[in-house]
Symmetry: none
Subunit: 162 residues, 2 copies
DNA sequence: CCACCCTGCTTGCAATTGCAAACACGATGG
DNA sequence: CCATCGTGTTTGCAATTGCAAGCAGGGTGG
């Protein structure tokens, strides 16, 4: 027994940690666990208890549920779009904002799902289920305006990596 | 030494079990744990791991999440916004996508209400890492521009060390 | 060069989980 | 009356968690 499939949870944690750009020790401290233990967890050598998992989630500032799902401790019954439901239920958003968010979210989902197609085409797969009557790109920018004043910087090429 | 706060989880399980009108041994069998252990759990003498908890939840046919919340292993979701929680819990998103969505959502919120309570981020590597500090402005554009294309996985700044 | 600080990893060891076996106590009934 | 089945509980014990120390090695600089 020991460590057959537990790997994914550890990998997931390590991914999240590295994306957050913090060291193992930092996360360990933030989560209140020892560094060696966290190391072992990340490499799938140990199966952390729920408490530890929860603390790690806090340290990473991610949802505990996401971690539990990764760990297989919760049925993945929040599948297609808990997000969509939440967005639609959010009364703080204007209708337009809502549409934009939904649109973006769906496109993100598509992005991930279509990991086979390496097309260099173009076109906007915008297929939102919204009452579409005008493009919204500038909506995005408008939303980002108060955020990022810097502009004119897009280098994004392919470099697809899995 | 005691497991002061864990009491509720055991009581909760016992309640649920009795409501289901099944014996301790029956639930133990259904959950795949030993009867004595379940007994101890119910009385708060033992702190079950997430796995066991999950199995018990299955045996009781109740939501794992409900149990985890009872056990204090999941934050009692008090969401300033359910959307954020949903986004964070969505395992289908890449971390980058998650960040973008969150930031956009927050900027939307700010547009309407200029109140903020934000991210007290800490734990920033001081040495031997990048000095980058701001979020990811152009990331938004990168993410939105193609609207649905494989977003770059490469961070522009990584090693600033010469 | 060695000292220092950072990174992650390996090594024993105390404390804990989780279990099999056996215990207590009550019904049912031969 | 003693056997048998039912409930939940107590008692050791193997296996595991989780940690304090210590190890290996990359940078920086005195």
């Amino acid at each position: 027994m020991a460590l057959p499939k537990v790997g994914s949870i550890g990998e997931y944690i390590r991914e999240q940690r590295q994306q957050a750009k913090i060291s193992l020790r930092q996360l360990a401290a933030a989560a209140g666990v020892s560094n060696p233990y966290l190391s072992q967890i990340e490499r799938g050598l140990r199966k952390p208890s729920a408490e530890i998992l929860n603390q790690i989630a806090k340290g990473l500032r991610i949802s505990s549920q996401a971690l539990y799902v990764q760990a297989g401790l919760i049925e993945d019954r929040e599948p297609p779009s808990d997000v969509l439901t939440a967005i639609q239920a959010d009364t703080h958003l204007t209708e337009r904002q809502r549409q934009v968010l939904i649109d973006i979210y769906e496109s993100f989902r598509k992005e991930r799902h279509a990991e086979d197609e390496q097309t260099s085409q173009n076109a906007r797969p915008r297929r939102g289920s919204q009452t579409d009557d005008e493009p919204l790109p500038e909506e995005y920018l408008a939303a980002l305006e108060p955020y990022a004043a810097t502009s004119g910087n897009d280098v994004t090429q392919e470099t697809k990596e899995g």
